[in-house]
Amino acid sequence: MTTTDAPEAAPPPRGKRRIGDVAFAGLAQGSGLLILLILAGVAAFLIIQAWPSLSANTANFLTTREWAPNVREDPAFGVAALAFGTVLAAAIALLMALPVAIGIALFIVFYAPRRLASLLGYLVDLLAAIPSVVYGLWGIGFLAPQLVPVFDAMTRYLGWIPLFAGPASTSGRTILTASVALAVMVLPIITAMSRDVFQQTPQGHREAALAMGATRWEMIRLAVLPFGKSGVIGGAMLGLGRALGETMAVAMILSPSLVISWNLLQSGNQTIAAHIALQYPEATGYGVSALIAAGLVLFAITLVVNMGARYVVARGNKES
């Protein structure tokens, strides 16, 4: 992180406590605590509202694929297919985005002309400024049709790999297309984190490597990458968290079905977030409560991933 070390809170001026001081400090502290309260509230309200459907559910919530909660009695639903689709889409997105993001970060820190570096970094940040619904629109209006011939070629030449078995979808609205859009969306997050740590590589390490006659790549491999490892991993996990929870791109691009399929080039699969957005307007009976239960699962997954990311980054900062 680029923040300078915190100026420790100054000792309060001596003398009697003024009413203004007490009130202002209370207000500030109240705001801080409110944040913890909101986070706790999110978890609490989701659990409370998910409970009715979970206790009425006649199927196993974690292992069932079907989604039939929109009834007054005996709903049967589960998140198995949804959780699978969520993890699959996010994992593919991360797989595509991570190497590119590391490359971009290296480019901006070590390769780009000094004067242009901040401008180019800003261009990458612009990718994060584009709303997700616009990515979704771009995905169906431009990306999916463009990818159809690519998918055809992939099934023809790589069809023996089960992931790419044909026949490919004719609309291009598959989980792989959604993952490409997700990859673009998480790219700036991973890039920003990696850039931060690469910039902090001690000047001494880099110059030592160069002085030994290392080429630029050898300097990066020996000095920069080992130093920046924890930051890159943390950034990748933050990106994963974002990809897991991203709704609109998937909801708009993917033509869903509640199956567990490893096939990336046919329509099918669905993610939790997109499922909630698509089902919510039609939810009746136990429907809303069941969707909240699915949201709770998503919340738990992203919470674990994000806390893990922060832990990795914090530990890396301490070591260096």
């Binding site: 001081d21 207000l27 500030a28 705001s31 913890l36 989701l46 709704t247």
Partner: protein
């Protein structure tokens, strides 16, 4: 550290007392530029000859030819270490160009498709009384909704966010500080749809099921906006020099007056920048608003507390769901409007940040 060491440059036979030609075994300085230009020209020529010219194909083939030729040439003249270095350099440049492709593509498609319907009529007319397939109607009601909802979210999140940042920088110490900072970071990662579900759950308990209105949307955006405001404000407050605070204390000014009269005004520009970036982030949020503000409002609604409220992101989404050609045109035009608003906020924030950045030595 990695334990592998690089090979020392292999000493040539002429090392030692003899003269060493330092230029030996290196490609000329202008080699990459010249090679790239000639690759581009040759590939363009071949493609034109076969009549299959396309910019993407041209770029890909040029890049491939360049990488292959430069790496082989370098391997023969300069040795394998330099060749590897050149390969990585090409890859790193390639990564950046690859990332620019979607950016240019998104902006270009939105511009081209959006301009078809983007005019004064579109911006000033609502969808009231317009059937989805009619060649009429616009996004005025959605623009109103976006302004109202985002405005309310901003009014709630900014005081809470800035005060929490003040607490973290000026008051909190030790464990409490670490805990709050950690959870603010974690809160940044809450999926937006979960923020929407949270408000759905809250509203169900407070007002009963099925109540959607603008205020619900604003609250869900608040959950997403507060952590962003806290993080950026915190960084800005930390940039205020400690000397200023101490000078103020030395004059006998109480702490809360020091914060309101010295610390906050000093960092005002930075705070504004951070807040604008936070607005730019939540103004495009769609998922929570589908759940909380409704998807079917067609008329202008200025009342945050009564009935469904359309907004630009949900307008795009619901038009796409309708699926007709005219609906797509409306969606693209609305996307153009939204992108223009976001970009405007983004650029203004950067300009402000650059113009009024606190001078730190």
């Amino acid at each position: 550290m990695n334990t592998t060491t690089t090979q020392p440059p292999t000493p040539g036979p002429e090392t030692g007392t003899e003269r060493v030609d330092l230029r030996r075994g290196s490609l000329p300085r202008h080699f990459p530029g010249v090679l790239l230009a000639s690759c581009a020209a040759v590939v363009a020529g071949i493609l034109l000859l076969f009549g299959t010219f396309g910019f993407l194909l041209w770029g890909l083939l040029t890049a491939a030819a360049y990488v292959v030729i430069s790496v082989t040439a370098s391997a023969r003249v300069e040795g394998s270490r330099k060749a590897k270095d050149r390969l990585v350099t090409s890859l790193v440049y390639g990564c950046f160009l690859l990332a620019m492709l979607p950016l240019v593509s998104v902006l270009w498609t939105v511009l081209v498709n959006g301009l078809a319907r983007f005019d004064g009529y579109f911006l000033t007319v609502s969808m009231n009384g317009v059937l989805p397939s009619m060649d009429a109607g616009g996004a005025y009601h959605a623009i109103v909704g976006t302004l109202m909802i985002t405005g309310m979210a901003t009014l709630i999140s900014v005081p809470i966010g800035v005060m929490a940042a003040v607490y973290l920088v000026e008051y909190a110490q030790g464990r409490m500080k670490r805990i709050i900072m950690f959870f603010v970071d974690v809160m940044t990662g809450i999926p937006s749809i979960v923020a929407g579900l949270f408000v759905v759950a809250l509203w169900m308990m407070l007002f009963g099921p099925g109540r959607t209105n603008g205020a619900a949307g604003a609250i869900s955006l608040t959950v997403l906006m507060i952590p962003v405001v806290v993080r950026s404000s915190e960084e800005m407050l930390r940039l205020v020099p400690q000397d200023l605070r101490e000078a103020s204390y030395a004059l006998g000014v109480p702490k809360w007056r020091t914060i309101t009269k010295v610390v906050l005004p000093t960092s005002a520009a930075g705070l504004t920048t951070g807040i604008m970036l936070a607005i730019a982030r939540v103004i495009g949020e769609t998922a929570p608003l589908i759940l909380t503000a409704g998807t079917s409002a067609i008329s202008i609604n200025w009342n945050l507390f009564d009935g469904q409220m359309m907004n630009l992101p949900v307008f795009i989404y619901s038009q796409v769901r309708m699926g007709g050609a005219i609906n797509y045109e409306r969606a693209w035009a609305a996307a153009l409007t939204l992108i223009l608003v976001v970009m405007l906020l983004f650029f203004l924030a950067r300009m402000l940040g650059r113009l009024f950045a606190p001078k730190v030595r």
